[in-house]
Every structure is written in structure tokens, then in C-alpha cells.
Amino acid sequence: MKIGKRNRRVAALLCSSTLALATASTGLIGANAGASTSTPGVTATSITIGASVPLSGIAASYASVSAAANAVFKYVNKLGGVNGRKIKYIRLDDCYGLAAYGLGCTAGASTTPLSNNQQLVAQDHVFATVGSLGTAAEMSVMGYLRQNGVPQLFVSSGSIEWNQPSSFPELFGYQTSYVAEGKIFAKYIKANYPNDTIGFIGQNDDVGATGLQGLEDGGVTIPSADNLTYNAADAISGSTSDITADVSTLAQNKVPVVVLYSVPGFTYGILATAHALGYSPQWIITSIGSDPLSVNTPLEAGAVTTSYFPSTTDNADPWVPWVRKVLEEDPADFPKFNASTVMSFNELYGAGQALAFVETLRAEGKNVTRGGFVKALTSTTLDTPAITPLRYTNGNHQGMQGGAIATVNSNGSLAPNSVTVTKTVFTTTPFAGSPLNSSNWTIAPIPSWLK
């Protein structure tokens, strides 16, 4: 009984001390924040933005996307910034959301896309996230960013999730959706392989599912025996049984045309497995998994893909030499990049995201707010390296709407380093059943202030 009373006294003491501490520290927070009431991340001379991207692990080949964006920001900063503001771009590694595996991931096991975004929002007070990467990774932070009113701009993924303007007004996609790409593939397949059986290997998530949806929407039916998925997580943990099983099924069925919806690391795995089995179908590979410098195998020569950028070796296009110049001026992000280095698709992709950001920021004017930025984004003409316009409207936040069929060039016994992009761009809206329209390339002019 004696002890019980004392315990109560101790409990009361602890409770009251906590309350005292709580009031004390909230006072502190108030004092800190009271210093500025402007838009988060924006000062008179700077604007801070961030991204959660894979810099290590299975999707590390995408690291050059955000590096290229960073190079563009540095270039713009050298020109004096945008309306007097220098851009600070914080990139955090999330290991494609697979840090829990700890294999080859620099990020600690407790790092998730959400924890990175919490750091960007709560510690670095970013104005927006720009070019964060990964379908599943970014879906896991949509709610958090909306809850805190942080714009989630130019998500590096072809999911159609980014286009929900009514429920996520500050969320914007970037690249052509996997659905639209699937429809373009369907058109190509119907024209070139009308009587052949088509096989499909897709990542067992939104990437594979929406790619398949586009193919089916475009009128290509995949027999269920040849419609296969693999689990990225399994393969990362050291077992490639999924991919081997999928490829051998298609090899046994002698499927002549196979569509892949995979990231470059797995595209390589699939091509190598097929080669080992003596199986060489016509490969049709999603744009996110076909960049020849990332896949890095001679087996990819002749594969068909889509592109929403000119070929990286096409020096007649004004943007290719411009991006090369920007990368050469940033040895911190691109060490050893010189006139003879071959550029990858990733660099044009990342440069386009950065360009879209700085051009919108410039259009918004001197007074920067999140709401004003979103408004400017849906009304500004964005000039980027893309061959299909990057346009946002109040009702459509997808980003690019089309792409052209491209073929991976052979490079003899070496891994290919370029693609040939056909001159016809197919565009469509992200809405189900909408038709494909064809047009010629749109080559946007380089804005004079960036020259």
C-alpha cells in the first residue's frame, strides 16, 4: 500500500514534468517559425526543392536522371537563377523502396520513400518535390505530400496514378503513361506481326499491369499461357527463379514476339536468360527499361521500344548539344563527361524535368507560392527536349501524351549505345478507349534566356 501511494506520486510528478516540457518546447517551435511567414523553401535569393530517388541498388542506373536535372539547375544558377533565386536541389537515396533488403543499398534498412519525404518536408522545408522516381515508391508518399500541401512535381513514372487533378491537385506526372505506350506498341504489333502469338513479361506491380492494359486497349490479346509476371523483390533477394521460369515458358511455347515491362536491370536479366536458352524472339521493351546504355548488352540490338525524346546521338536536334554542354559544365555530377562520351536517354529525361520546373518558375514571376506555381504550370508552354509536347491542363496532369517507335541500333559485338527514333509521334489521352493520333515531331525551341 505504501509503495502504491508513492508510485502515484511518482507518476504525477512525471506527468506534470512532461506537460511542462511540452509547453516549453512548443513555445520554442513557435518562436522559430515566427521568423518567416513566406512560402516554405523560398527566400529572396533561393528556392529549395528535393527528390527521393534510387542512387544505389537495382534501379541505380536511373541515378543519372536526377543528376542531369541537377546539372540543369546548376547551369541556370550560373546564369543568375530564376528571378534572382538560385535553385537548391536535394536528392535522397531510397534504393527504389527496397532498402529493407540491405543488399547494395547505401540507404539504411529503415529508409523508405516516406522517411525521405518526411526529411525533405519537415527538415529541409522544400518548396516541392521534383522528379522523385518509382511508381510504388511515389504512391506511398502521395497522401503524405497532399496532407502537408507539398506539390509533387514531374514524378518519374508512367503510371496513370499521377493524373487525378480533383483529388490530388498538386500532383503532376511527367512521362507518357504505360497505357498510352502499350497502345502504341499494340498499333506497331498489329501492323508488323498481325498473325503472331505475343508474349508478355511484366513487373508484378502497376508498371506491368498498366502496360498490359494499354496493349489490350489497343487490341492485342496475350494468351494467358504467355502472360507472365516477375517479382522484382524476389529477384533482388538473390533468386532469379521467376525470370528463368518466365523466359523458359515463352521459349518452350516458341513465342516469336515478347513485350517487356521491366526496369533496365531486369531487361538485362531477361535478355541474358533467353540467350542462355538459345531463344531470340523480337523484343519490344518499354521506354523505361530499354535505354541501351543502362541495359548494356549486345543482345538488345534490334529491340523495339518507344521514345519521347530524339536519339541521344542526333546532333541535328538543338537540344542534344545543349544538354551535352550543360552536363560538361557539371563535373561534380558528371565526372569524365566529354565530347566523346555517349549520352543516355536518362539525361534528356532529367534535363526535361528541370527545364519544366525553371520555365514554370520564371513564368510565375517574382512572387512565388505553391498555388501560383500550380496555376502557372497548367498555363505555361514548356520547352523541353521531348518530341511530343509536355502540357498540363486543369483536367489533365499526366504530362507527355505520346511517343514514337524506336529501334535499338546494333553496335557490333559491343553493347548498343544509340536508338533510331521514327519520325511519327503517336499521341493519345490517358482516358480509356481514346484513339491514337499521329503527327510529326514537335521540336521545341530553346528559350533565349537559357542559351
Partner: protein, 357 residues
């Protein structure tokens, strides 16, 4: 000072309540001082510490080994995710209770055959379970969302809590701290239950089974039943931990619960100290701040974080820590404290004798 000794020795339920409450309240107070990012990390650590505690009970008190606790964690996590997808407005306490219950049920299913096994055979059986969970989740896409998983909104902060905060980043800071406080509070409740369980009839029976199962049977302890209870409790804690973990991350997907997580859990448990409450707390803290530790070490040594060495820093650090722990503190970091106390005490006891002569 009798009451303090009683709290430390955990002789009564009331003293255990005060002990756990004190640690919980202190941790809650700390969340007010920590920056929001550290709060989020602490929340993850609190969730993991619940799982470690469940594992610690199984290994330390019943002497069984499990490599399946990441699987039980996944069961609790998916139970939460699937329930939240359809019943978003359920009070959190109900969701936690459901996840714990379903975790316990999965533990029961695994326990029934497991009680006939021991040592490496049992480890193998539980290993198979945690290896099987991911493919199951990946393939029942309509329920589990496949490899992408299920997504939901982050927790909303109640208005009265927002009232503590002011200024430009009030909502952001409040959100981070509310989730941390919630996770710490749930961990506090879980730790209180375990503290009582340690000192219950079952707890004592468990220890006897661990040390000498023949003696345990002679005094009338039902061996399979006791071992099953150990498993079920461990799985229930893992289920609860998984549930909290999922609510913190606003997503559940198979890649969050790989086989390697089971190994990480075991490592953290050994580092902290097997079979103790404080060991589980220490394990959770190591987990929560391991990322900071790695980046700090990388910057201290100048290792490029994207190099091969930098990318495998986590394995190296955990490995070295594990070896050091085994060599110098076989009872973990928690045991180290006890060891030091013991040395100090015996030194004191020796001292008067030598001066007296």
C-alpha cells in the same frame, strides 16, 4: 528507496506499471524536443522494438528460435492494410487489436507443428514460413495489391494535439510527432503486457521448460502447450509491430518484409540483450538511427556512399557490432549495464575488507 528497488526489480504489477510508464513518458517527452525527422525515425524504432520484444520472449524465455518473425510482422501488416482499405474509419485501437489477433492466429498455425521440432529444425521451419509470405502476398493481387502493395493516407493529427504547435510548420511538426507519440504509446502498452508476462505463472513455466524440460514435465507443466503459448505471444507482438510499422509508412508491400528482416531482428535482439525489456528498447533505438550512424561513419571515414564498400556499410556495422557484443557483452548492451553494476558492487564489497586488514 524501497519503492525504487521494487520498480527496478519489478516485484509487483503496480511497480511494473510505474516502470514502463516512466520510460514511456520520458520517451514521449523526448519526442517534443527531437526534430520531426528524428521523431519519424523514433516511431519506426518503436514499432520494431515491439517485434524484437516478441522475439526476445520466444528466444530468451522459452528457448525456441524463430526466423519467421518478419513473416508474422507481414501478417499483421497485411491485416492492417486490408482492413484499412475497406474500413478506413475504424478506431485505431480496433485495428491494432485485429492485427494482434490475426498475428497470434498465424503464430498458432505455425506453432502446432513447430512444437515437435527444436534447434535448427525449428529455425528451418520458421524460415520457410517467412520465405513463403512474400510470394503469397505477391500473387493474391486482388487482395494484397501484388508487388506494388496497398496504399493509404498517413495518420491525421487530432485538433487538440495541433493546438500544441504554432508557426509556419506547425502541421508538419505536429504530424511527425503525433505518429511518433502514438507508436511510443502502443509500444508502452505492449511492454507493460510483456513485463507482466515475464513474471506470470506462464513466464516461470517457460523458463523451466527452457532450462530443463524433463524437470518441467515432472512438475506437471504441459510442454507442447507452453511452447505453443510462447509462439503465439511472439507472433501476436510481431503482428502488432507490423501493424504500427504499416501505419507509419502508409503503405504495405511484400518488399518491406524480406527474409533478411528476420535476420536483422535477431541481430538487433542480440545486440540489445536477449529476454529483457531494455534489450528490446535498445534494439529499436539502434534500428531507428542506423541510417544516421551509417551516413555519419561514411562522412567521417570519407567513404563514397555509392561505392561497393559504402553500399554495404550496414552489413559491416551490424557484423562488427555483433562480434563485439558476443565477445564483450554476451548478454547484450542491456546486460552490459548489469555487468558493470555487478563489478562496481563486488569491487565495493572487496574494498573494505582489504583496508580493514
Amino acid at each position: 528507496m524501497t519503492w525504487l528497488r521494487s520498480v527496478v526489480a519489478q516485484e509487483r504489477t503496480s511497480s511494473r506499471l510505474v516502470g514502463v510508464l516512466a520510460i514511456t513518458v520520458v520517451t514521449l517527452a523526448i519526442t517534443f524536443v527531437l526534430p520531426p525527422v528524428a521523431d519519424s525515425q523514433l516511431a519506426g524504432g518503436a514499432a520494431i522494438s515491439i517485434v524484437i520484444l516478441g522475439l526476445s520472449w520466444l528466444v530468451g524465455w522459452s528457448g525456441q528460435i524463430s526466423l519467421g518473425n518478419s513473416g508474422f510482422m507481414a501478417v499483421g501488416a497485411y491485416a492492417t492494410g486490408i482492413w484499412a482499405a475497406h474500413h478506413g474509419s475504424t478506431p485505431l485501437i480496433v485495428t491494432f487489436f485485429l492485427a494482434t489477433l490475426i498475428g497470434a492466429m498465424s503464430g498458432l498455425i505455425i506453432a502446432i507443428p513447430s512444437t515437435r521440432l527444436s534447434g535448427p529444425y525449428l529455425a528451418g521451419m520458421t524460415l520457410a514460413f517467412s520465405a513463403a509470405i512474400s510470394p503469397i502476398a505477391q500473387n493474391y493481387t486482388s487482395v494484397t495489391g501484388g508487388e506494388g502493395g496497398l496504399f493509404f493516407n498517413t495518420l491525421t493529427t487530432p485538433h487538440w494535439f495541433l493546438g500544441f504547435f504554432s508557426g509556419q510548420n506547425a502541421t508538419i511538426n505536429a504530424n511527425a510527432q503525433w505518429t511518433a507519440d502514438l507508436a511510443v504509446a502502443v509500444a508502452g502498452v505492449a511492454f507493460f503486457f510483456m513485463a507482466n508476462l515475464f513474471h506470470s505463472h506462464t513466464g516461470r513455466a517457460m523458463r523451466l521448460v527452457r532450462d530443463n524440460d524433463v524437470a518441467a514435465e515432472l512438475v506437471g507443466i504441459n510442454l507442447p502447450r507452453t511452447r505453443t503459448i510462447a509462439f503465439v505471444v511472439s507472433a501476436a507482438f510481431a503482428g502488432l509491430g507490423g501493424s504500427v510499422y504499416v501505419l507509419l509508412n502508409a503503405t504495405v508491400n511484400p518488399s518491406a518484409f524480406p527474409l533478411t528482416l528476420s535476420i536483422t531482428l535477431l541481430t538487433l535482439m542480440v545486440l540489445g540483450g536477449i529476454g529483457t525489456l531494455s534489450g528490446a528498447v535498445i534494439g529499436g533505438i539502434i534500428y531507428a538511427f542506423s541510417t544516421n550512424l551509417i551516413s555519419h561513419l561514411n562522412s567521417l571515414t570519407g567513404i563514397n556512399p555509392t561505392s561497393n564498400l559504402g553500399a554495404n556499410m550496414q552489413g559491416i556495422i551490424f557484423g562488427v557490432l555483433l562480434i563485439l557484443t558476443m565477445l564483450f557483452a554476451p548478454h547484450g548492451i542491456a546486460g552490459l549495464g548489469r555487468r558493470i553494476r555487478f563489478f562496481v558492487k563486488s569491487a565495493r564489497r572487496v574494498a573494505p575488507v582489504s583496508t580493514g586488514e
